[in-house]
């Protein structure tokens, strides 16, 4: 309970720091959003008026405090460039990105956890080198490149989806999810390769441990040792890495959304940075920060279920 509270506080602190840093970063790099909105032809008087209207004339800290208050009262502000409440602007894009990341995450977990344990056999066997080479290759291919290949191969040639024509998530959920699936595969490929490599070295080091000798001495067969003992013990580092992966997927997603033309958070973020749309950028960044910390928390919780040594303040 206490650790839960600490985690929630940490989550809040992280979001606070991240939001402050984004605010500060814009303060340093940015030009004037009012100028950006009105274009270069605008008279200084009009720019000044707009600045007042947007509250940009107030000092930096005051603006940040205003934003923070708004945030906690559920008001994310109004987008400068879209003239829409940020919450309304973000919601549909968040849904798209969440689905894409979720599918990608499922692909990564479903493939790499069992395969990671199985690959132990092939990795130490005769084809270890082939394994390593393939692994290096898939880890190194950048997602935008596989993105282009997949768009072309599965989209243009095989017509599984129409690149650039993303179906509406509400009107055609099946079509939208199919579209997202290919983007998700693209994000997943290097991650799966990384997970497999990590899992393999974990399994190899677990196999050296004493409890494996015990398991063999009790008459377990190879599968009994791997599935009955080593898999569970290898899971903790794997889950930790999956937590990191869940966070990194979002970053990978930004590029992939561009390549596939998916209207998600990534694209919105890139566009609003270009437009100096503070409120939108701010909201997206805080969501991403939340996502990252939340992923780590989720991984910790799962690990506590697996490994009793990680449970703080148990019965004993």
């Amino acid at each position: 309970m206490k650790s839960m509270l600490r985690r929630v506080l940490m989550l809040l602190a992280t979001m606070l720091i991240v939001s402050f840093l984004t605010y500060a970063a814009f303060e340093l790099i940015s030009g004037d959003p009012a100028e950006a909105m009105l274009g270069t032809q605008a008279t200084p008087a009009r720019v000044e008026a707009l600045r007042k209207e947007l509250g940009l004339d107030a000092p930096f800290l005051v603006r940040y405090a205003r934003w923070l208050l708004g945030f906690f009262s559920g008001n994310l502000g109004v987008s400068y460039s879209y003239k829409l409440p940020v919450a309304e602007l973000i919601a549909p894009k968040l849904a798209v990105t969440l689905w894409m990341c979720l599918i990608s995450f499922i692909i990564i977990s479903v493939i790499s956890l069992p395969l990671g344990v199985l690959s132990y056999q092939s990795a130490v066997g005769r084809f270890g080198w082939l394994h390593t080479t393939l692994n290096q290759f898939f880890m190194a291919v950048p997602p935008f490149f596989t993105g282009i290949l997949i768009s072309w191969g599965c989209g243009v040639i095989l017509r599984f989806f129409t690149p650039g024509d993303f179906p509406d998530l509400h009107a055609d959920p099946a079509g939208a999810l199919r579209y997202l699936f290919f983007a998700a595969v693209c994000i997943a490929i290097p991650r799966v390769a990384m997970m497999l490599r990590m899992m393999r070295s974990t399994v190899i080091s677990e196999m050296e441990k004493d409890y494996v000798q015990t398991a063999i001495s009790r008459g377990n067969d190879r599968q009994g040792v791997l599935v009955g003992h080593v898999l569970k013990n290898s899971l903790v580092p794997a889950i930790t890495m999956l937590g990191q992966t869940m966070a990194e997927i979002v970053a990978g997603g930004i590029v992939v959304e561009q390549v596939f033309g998916i209207p998600g958070l990534g694209r919105l973020l890139v566009a609003s940075i270009a437009n100096r749309d503070y409120p939108t950028v701010q909201a997206v960044v805080v969501i991403l920060a939340f996502w990252v910390v939340f992923a780590g928390m989720a991984a910790d919780l799962v690990n506590q279920c697996i490994d009793p040594r990680l449970r703080l303040g148990g019965e004993s």
């Binding site: 441990k209 004493d210 409890y211 015990t214 063999i216 008459g219 377990n220 569970k232 013990n233 004993s316």
Partner: protein, 260 residues
Amino acid sequence: MLEIKDLHVKFHTRDREAVAGVTLTIHDGEILGLVGESGSGKTVTAMSVAGLLPRRQCDYRGEVLLDGQDLLHADRDFLRTVQGKKIGVVFQQPMNAMDPLIRVGEQVGEVLRIHTDMSPEERRRASLEAMDAVELDDPEAVYRKYPHELSGGMLQRAMIAAAIVIRPSLLLLDEPTTALDVTIQAQILELLKKLNAESGVSMMFISHNLNVVRKLCTHVAVMQRGLLVEEGSTADVFYHPQHEYTRHLIDAIPRRRKYQ
């Protein structure tokens, strides 16, 4: 009955044979103490019996016969029918030898799951009985604990329970008390003696401590650099040591206790 005949084991990474021609016999109900300096090949000898030699990393020849059947060259499938069922193994470090993520009770009952078709409830009862036999207080509570929640002595008792739960004919104990403090060590020795007296299980007890061996074992074998330099009943070996190395070992026992 276990017969080891002219056992040789040489690891590819070493020049010298780890075991260089060991011949010894453990009859039913005997407790053989295997002593010798570090690196003399005691563990490797025991591993050859338990089917735990890393076969790809070493050359081996000779015979290890358990009730007349060779284990040294047996295929894995056959070995598995013997491992755990006829031969139980207890290692030096109970904390590491247990799987940290599995409840102690389940680990005690693991051999039953592998070798019998008892129901989970039957296994549970048998495990609790074994845990009671090794004098663990409150077996029900220990059953539910994870290894990190128990002391070294309790864990080693649980490991012994896991080894005897299926009533094997041979126990291999590789320095089972070295990691424990002296009081616990004495308790475990008493326990082993009791188990041997009650069930007639044979044991190979590896130790550095001659004193311990003298108290527990019916027979003693002394190893040096992969060779068996002395073997016989405990009384013979202690009162009429033939080999100079054995005399040297006996002299190394603290005086006060030597003629107890």
